[in-house]
Every structure is written in C-alpha cells, then in structure tokens.
Amino acid sequence: MLSELDQQIVLATQAGLPLDPQPYHRIAEQLGIDAKLVQQRIKQMLADGRIRRIAAIPNHYKLGFVANGMSVWNVPDEQVDKLGEIVGKLDYVSHCYRRPRFLPEWPYNLFAMVHGKNREEVNLQVAKIASLLGDADQGHDILFSRRILKKTGMRFNQANDIGKKRN
C-alpha cells in the first residue's frame, strides 16, 4: 500500500527520471516538497521492494537480440527452486519464474524467457538449459511469439487508484 506522498512520487517518476544533474530535485519541485524527502521516500520504497531498482532498461530488439522464446519446463517440484536459481543466472535469460501447472494440458512449472539474435540461437540456448537440467528436465517446450496483439505496458493512471481497492 502507498501513502499519498509515495503515490505522488510514483506518478511523477513512472515515465522515468528527469535527465537532469539533479533529477530528485526536479521531482521535488514538481511536487512542491523537499528534495531530501523525495530521496528518503524512494530509498524506503527500494528497501521494502516496492521499487525493485532504479535502472536503465535496454531495448533488446534494438541491440540485435531480435528473437525471444518463452521456454517452459516440467521439473520436479522439490527441485524447482534450486533449478530456477541456476537458470535465472544464465545471461541470455531475462525473466525466470515458477508458475502453476494445469494438468493435463500444461505440465510446465518453470518459465524462462530466452533472448537471442535469431531463433536458431534461442533453440541452441534452450538446448544448453536442457543439458544443464539433465534428468530433472521431464519435458520442455519453446513458445515463440507470432504477433504482438497489445502492448500498453503497466501504467498507474490515476493517483487515487494506486494500491487502493476500487469501490
């Protein structure tokens, strides 16, 4: 949940930080509050995980990594956490999550998004993951995207919506 001040800071930064030598001062001016307070609130949100990190996010497509495949794995439940940590650390994997199975249609419990310069490279990297998992790989698949049907991203559109239940 967010206090009103934190909500205002989230709204003011959702498009990114101002590219200015003193970005937190610019946000503070916009909100009419002290720059120290802005920094203190952001540090608090970093500490409690509401902000994961403040970072530069590269566009992997523009950097030449034009292929991506969602690799999905059926691994034993008692090993999934250990294996997820290993797969997540591979430098061609951008996301790695444990998700629920839906038997019989969907036996996979580990998801890893794999990036490469083309589909062959993605296939090769998935093969590397398979050999890394060994016997724990009880079946896997790669789902390549065929079409983007919608991409609006996650936006917090109204200050009074953030972290509050809708009435």
Partner: protein, 175 residues
C-alpha cells in the same frame, strides 16, 4: 584480436545500432542500479570514468533513439497492493482475432501475444487488487466463452544481467 572493437552495426545479422564501447559500459553498469543522491549522474559518471555531462548526453541519446526503453524506477506492482498475472487461452484459429479484440478491450490487459502453441494467446493482467483480478478473469471468460488459465508467478528467481553486452569481442565470436 581480443582488443579489436566490434560494433553491432558491423554484424550482418543485426539491425544497425550506433552503440559504441562507452554506451555498452553505461548500459551494463546502469542495469544494476542508479544512486539516490543530490547529484546521482555525477556519482554514476565518476564510477564509469566519464563526465556528468557526457553520461547525461549519452543516456538522452539512447532514450531518444530507443536503445533504452526506460531510465528510472522499476516498480513492483504486487508490493504496491496490486496483482499481476500471466494468463493463457486456447483459442480456435477462426475465432482468434475476435477473441483478441475482446480480451484487448479490457484496460487491465497490459500485454497480449499470439504464440506458437496450442495455448496460443498469452496476456498479462495488471489489476489494482486480487479481487479485481478475479472479477476481470470471470468477465473475460464470460465475454469470450473460453476458459482462462491463470498462471501467477509463485516465485521469482534472481536474474543477473539482463543482456550481457561485454566483452565486445566475444559477442562477435559467439554468433
């Protein structure tokens, strides 16, 4: 050979990209994090052995030409009280476009992809609360007539560098 500078634009299988070694260093370093202080660009620039002005200019350029999709805080929706889920559907080919339109009509659907699989529609649902998520799932099922497989993440594993852009020479050898 090791010190030879290889740019992405020299590689025939990549889209042209005007990234030089300094840009790559900046992306690699700032994927991890950025300071919260009075002069954070000055701080980040010092550890990259750049001037504050040059760092700001380079980040501005990379934002403008789309090499960076974002520069700023990354929020965790769940920790802010909201809910985020990956959802999948098995949709008949002839109904696909209509169902896509129906699913996309929900503001809570942030991304939607067609994928090569029997489970052919994959979308991300972002809501302000768990209750709203359940409601939206039910509404989507009613409107489309198809069941929705709700696959929220149960655990997130640590992901290191998003894209390892160094060392430069190895990038070329690997392809």
């Amino acid at each position: 050979m090791k010190n030879k500078s290889v740019n992405f634009k020299n590689k025939p299988d990549s889209p042209a990209s005007p990234l030089d070694a300094t840009d790559r260093r900046i992306i690699n370093a700032l994927q991890y994090g950025f300071p919260v202080s009075d002069y954070p660009f000055q701080e980040a620039a010092a550890s990259l052995k750049l001037s504050e002005t040059e760092l700001l200019e380079r980040i501005k350029n990379m934002r403008e030409n789309g090499l960076l999709t974002r520069f700023g805080p990354l929020y965790n929706a769940e920790k802010m009280g909201g809910a985020l889920s990956l959802c999948a559907m098995i949709v008949a080919e002839e109904k696909f476009d209509k169902v896509a339109q129906q699913v996309n009509s929900f503001a809570q659907v942030a991304h939607n992809y067609e994928r090569d699989h029997k489970m052919n529609m994959w979308f991300v649902l972002a809501t302000q609360s768990i209750e709203e998520k359940q409601q939206t799932l039910e509404q989507i099922e009613q409107l489309t007539g198809y069941p929705v497989y709700d696959m929220p993440r149960q655990k997130e594993y640590f992901v290191g560098l998003f894209l390892n852009l160094e060392p430069v020479s190895q990038q070329a050898h690997d392809s």
